[in-house]
């Protein structure tokens, strides 16, 4: 493995890395949004909300990510086409973002629920006894400590989701792993290509881990 081959590999992998990052960032952000709403629904008193969130989490937890990707990319467009009588298609990248969002959202909702449930009932009672509204209690007394306590699990899920983007190669998303495979298919440079690919993931995820340390420190009480 020499510098020359790395030089050849880098541009192609960087293009893959860009797509990996785009799908990860957008997918995690939407996933966090979905997870917050669905986690709040699980924590809350509305029976319908709890049931809808429960079914969603059950479906995602009960099927492999790869199957979810195949389903969103191949099956859903056919179903929509049949239902609307049009010729609906879905870009593989868009399908990838949808899959990462839905998948991380399900796991994040259980993290959010656990963190909300974990805040002592005494906080709610103190808020009530001071005449605060339920919304003020939620926003000022429950969410801040819940957010702080969910950070480690949340970043764990973010890291998992970044790695899950590698599985999107199965629906021909040209993220970094698929780019690497394509490169090897043309050049047979197996050792340098996979090595550089692994190193790129390591750097990307290390940045995320540093970000985690920074944010946890910012929200810690000490």
């Amino acid at each position: 493995m020499d510098l020359e081959s790395v030089k050849n590999i880098a541009p192609m992998l960087l293009r893959g890395l860009k797509l990996t990052m785009e799908i990860s960032v957008v997918g995690i952000l939407i996933g966090f949004l979905i997870g917050s709403v669905s986690g709040y629904a699980l924590h809350g008193h509305f029976k319908a909300g709890r049931h809808i969130a429960g079914v969603y989490i059950w479906l995602i937890r009960g099927t492999p990510l790869v199957v979810q990707a195949l389903y969103v990319y191949f099956v859903v467009p056919l179903l929509i086409s049949a239902a609307t009588g049009t010729n609906f298609t879905l870009e593989s990248t868009a399908a990838g973002i949808i899959v990462i969002s839905l998948n991380s959202g399900a796991f994040i909702s259980t993290i959010v629920k656990g963190a909300l449930d974990g805040v002592e009932i005494g906080q709610t009672e103190a808020g009530k006894s001071l005449g605060l509204t339920n919304r003020q209690i939620m926003w000022h007394l429950i969410v801040p400590p819940a957010f702080q306590s969910m950070l480690p699990a949340l970043f764990n899920q973010f890291i998992i989701s970044v790695k899950d983007t590698a599985l999107l190669s199965i629906i021909s998303v040209n993220e970094m792993t698929r780019q690497t495979q394509n490169y090897i298919a043309r050049t047979f440079q197996t050792v340098p290509a996979y090595t550089v690919c692994a190193l790129f993931y390591l750097v990307l995820l290390s940045i995320l881990m540093v970000l985690q340390k920074f944010i946890e420190k910012k929200f810690s009480l000490k």
Binding site: E125, A126, G127, L130, G131
Partner: protein, 246 residues
């Protein structure tokens, strides 16, 4: 005769099959200090929590200034702004400073703007002897200090009355005194207080009236001298002798 500030009328509370409170009737006048004593499990804390509707009574009524707070249309939030509560386990807000704990509710309920609220909070902290801890987090304080912050937090709403739910039961013995002395001062300043407590000396010195509860009933009620020194009921005598023996 003016009507009482708080009137609890035929109040019952049932959890599942468990009858915790049975036909409770209490009146509390403005400026009065009422201490509720009794063995654990007698329903004292549940009664206190039924007053400000942290527990919803199964039947009966709680009148505050002649308005029924068990009525569906009652403004419970406004009632709670005026009748504060101090908890056994303090329930301070862990991510806020001592000053932030005291100033939060007056700002959110729009009683005061932020500047005013912090000024008033600082005054209250001085009153409970904790002005030097204003920027500390609750977790760095002793139990007695935390409970004094909790009292200042309740006072920040300019309450008409305060409910105390065993305010010294979670404290180390040597820290009980500092909390009781703050409460004595409040009573001396004319605050209306309903105090669930095991501190017999406090009840004897400070209470205008003592209520002894057992098994969900009010067994006996009277002046501290009547209830604590010459109780009429056997159950009161048994409780007090057990209490003094331990």
């Amino acid at each position: 005769m003016s009507s009482p500030l708080l009137q609890i009328s035929h109040l019952s509370k049932i959890f599942g099959d468990l009858v915790v409170l049975k036909d409770i009737n209490i009146e509390v006048s403005e400026g009065e200090v009422v201490c509720i004593i009794g063995p654990s499990g007698s329903g004292k804390s549940t009664l206190l929590r039924c007053i400000n509707q942290l527990e919803i009574p199964t039947s009966g009524d709680v009148f505050y200034k002649d308005q029924n707070m068990c009525d569906k249309k009652a403004d419970i939030r406004k009632f709670r702004e005026e009748v504060g509560m101090v908890f056994q386990r303090f329930n301070l807000f862990p991510m806020r400073t001592v000053l932030g704990n005291v100033a939060l509710a007056p700002v959110l309920t729009k009683r005061r703007n932020k500047q005013e609220a912090r000024g008033k909070a600082a005054q209250l902290l001085e009153r409970v002897g904790l002005e030097s801890k204003r920027d500390a987090l609750p977790s760095t304080l002793s139990g007695g200090q935390q409970q004094r912050v909790a009292i200042a937090r309740a006072l920040a709403m300019d309450p008409v009355a305060l409910l105390f739910d065993e305010p010294t039961s979670a404290l180390d013995p040597e820290l009980v005194g500092e909390v009781l002395s703050v409460m004595r001062q409040l009573a001396a300043d004319g605050m209306t207080m309903v105090v669930v407590t095991h501190e017999m000396a406090f009840a004897k010195d400070v209470a205008d009236r003592v209520i002894f509860m057992d098994n969900g009933y009010i067994v006996e009620e009277g002046t501290p001298q009547e209830v604590l020194e010459s109780p009429r009921e056997e159950r009161t005598k048994a409780f007090l002798s057990r209490f003094l023996a331990s």
